[in-house]
Symmetry: C3
Subunit: 303 residues, 3 copies
């Protein structure tokens, strides 16, 4: 899990994902020699800070968002959220401005206004993220930003044996989106992709539990095309990999932007569930991570 | 009205419109021999579960959404809405899962949480829709899903004499959209379409009444381009067909996704008004249906 | 400021921007002889009521929305807002219907319902806008619709010396958008544009003040790509032009639709701040207007 820990520590709030992109390019370059298929690394001006790995002759794309929630420094000592972070006074935040590195505390007042506590003013516009406290027990991983560094970790486990497929690393998922539209355009126009899997983390609820397997989401705020979901469930059933079905009325993912794109691309959200969502203490069961990786390996072969 | 009744009974909640699509393809194949122009039937992978009928040399597209509101079975006996259904304890719901056909009752508790009452648990992810009770009197039609099976019925009346035009059957309109973007792309890139009419059902309000004619909507949540609306109103005026003007601040339709698409396509919502919206008792005046059909026939010729 | 006054008086609520478009075309035709570069005037069916001026070999596009907030007449004496106007009983509204010109008063009741007071019924669907009362003092300009006639005024000051660039006049910004998607498609596919500046007006807040310079927005409801914002801030710093940084969690602009478009285009909102937003008394400091014009001149050269 050393790789996952490293991923969780990288500064990449929505809009500023470049450090994580560079980490991933570096990872591919230093590891891909041993992979079954050498991927093409696609990035540059046409993709802003996004990154695509192309393996063989792709039929299906896996989407994993690189960005995390966080905070932007406003005026005085005020903070504005990036995405929807869990907020509690005392959470430790880190960042950097022209005056140097920052380690400060989040303050939440009675009116739910956010501010930081630090020995000096922080420059307007500075991004702060949770300080990473990565914890591993026999059964669980706990850290900030498992959403979605675990989704990325999942794709990096796929790379070793993947023969045909795209891995797409997106930006801004936590804050309104904006990169999936041009990513979708790119992969559909260049590779005629019609199938997408969303490698992301979902929530523990009264129907989704720790240790009971990877979650296949039948719907959240958006409803994917039934025929595609049923094909995936049927493949999961015959795989013997433990999985859980999710049905929710809220929540969203990169799937939403695929749904709304002008390309006829089916999508399905598949990921491990976590507790303490969007807090520094996101918690995932290791067996669910293993089930997630196993199911993706099968789906990328069979879809 | 036998055809309308049949349409109202088809299971096609947002995301699973395939049965209605197949019904329509079958209808066209068995009826089109007598039509003035034989349409091209366009469907397949590039359109997911959508369907386009192409008549002659099209200048204008009519959009009619196939999907309906409904409910998805969550965990325990909970339900999550598909779109925005009217909810009242006792409404009869139907569906089917692996254990067989389902006929159950909707329950709404004090906190507005939805559940079903049935003799056995229903499989997670199963879709339930209103049980159809189709009623016809001298003046009125009443049934669930007049929104938008009546909009589809309207287009099927057009087909007999239509010479030039597209009829576009869309998905997901009741639940966030997602098919109009690729449909618009397809029809603009292939046929340079710049005009769209939304064949859908609107609401009885303090300014829109039963029996006073088809409604031309000047705006709802979205505001279409003034010049196009005025052209349509002027054609309606010279047609002598009874019509009403609608001005609303809320409500939406497939027009919204046309408005937001990257293609310069004008649109206007034109449809009969109904009472008891999104309930099992949607009610429309027959004269308004006739006016709707008459106005579409003229507009498809003259626009 | 005579030009700005003229701009503020033009009837162009969202959806009906054609008078302002015609004014701008006329302005370019009568003034461009003296400009350094003669722009190509691009408009017509492919752009609905939008307008593009193309200077030389463009790398950056400036977006300025033409539309304003206002009101649509509903049934009886009711009004429905266009965009988000400030509402107070007594505000003077003007418009025109088949019976002639209208000058009436806005009424707001205890339940925040809007109506007009006028000697006769106004035709359903008629648009009303604020009556313009343009005021100029030594330091300030005050009028309705400085948002965004001042953004347009800014672009018209650029035209005189602009060598390479696009000026894009958009529609519907105040009411849900809908023209930026096809404008973006057009300018990216034709000119490979990757950079956009939003010439629009922002708000006076506890961190943004009158007379302290043009505002560079680091974020509002949307978060632009960090790398682009930092490039602009660095150019502003070396320019010596007074500027202020904005960090907000709400508010939006044409930048939002650029963010969500399927083209990899960076954007930044740059504009003077105003008080009394969306009221008949919008107020902007003249020094901030001058700073805005100066910064745009430099950015259009250096970006």
């Amino acid at each position: 899990m050393e790789l996952l820990k490293e991923l969780c520590e990288i500064h990449a709030p929505s809009g500023n994902e470049v450090l994580l992109k560079n980490f991933l390019i570096d990872y591919v370059k230093t590891h891909s020699a041993n992979w079954k298929v050498q991927p093409e690394i696609i990035h540059g001006n046409d993709l802003q800070d996004c990154l695509i790995l192309k393996f063989g002759d792709p039929r299906t794309a896996v989407f994993a968002h690189m960005d995390s929630i966080g905070f932007t420094v406003r005026y005085e000592n005020q903070l504005v959220p990036i995405g929807g972070p869990d907020v509690k006074s005392g959470y430790e935040l880190i960042g950097e401005d022209v005056l140097g590195p920052i380690e400060c505390k989040l303050e939440v007042n009675d009116e739910n206004q956010l501010s930081y506590k630090f020995g000096r003013p922080i420059k307007v516009g500075t991004e702060l993220i949770f300080k990473c406290n990565f914890r591993e027990t026999k059964d669980y991983i706990q850290s900030c930003y498992l959403d979605n560094r675990l989704g990325i970790y999942n794709t990096l486990q796929l790379t070793e044996t993947l023969e045909d497929g795209l891995i797409v690393f997106s930006c801004w998922e936590e804050h309104g989106g904006g990169s999936v539209p041009f990513l979708i355009k790119y992969i559909h126009e260049n590779y005629k992709i019609r199938q997408a899997l969303i490698s992301d983390i979902t929530w523990i609820t009264d129907g989704v539990k720790h240790g009971e397997g990877v979650v296949i989401s039948m719907r959240d705020r958006n409803i994917p095309r039934r025929a595609f979901i049923e094909k995936i469930i049927s493949k999961a059933q015959s795989s013997q990999i433990p999985f859980q079905l999710e049905v929710e009325g809220s929540g969203s993912s990169d799937g939403r932007e695929i749904q709304l794109s002008p390309y006829p691309i089916d999508w399905c959200f598949i990921g491990a569930p976590e507790d303490h969502v969007h807090s520094p203490n996101e918690k995932v069961h290791k067996q669910d991570i293993n089930a997630m990786i196993s199911l993706y390996k099968i789906l990328m072969k069979e879809l």
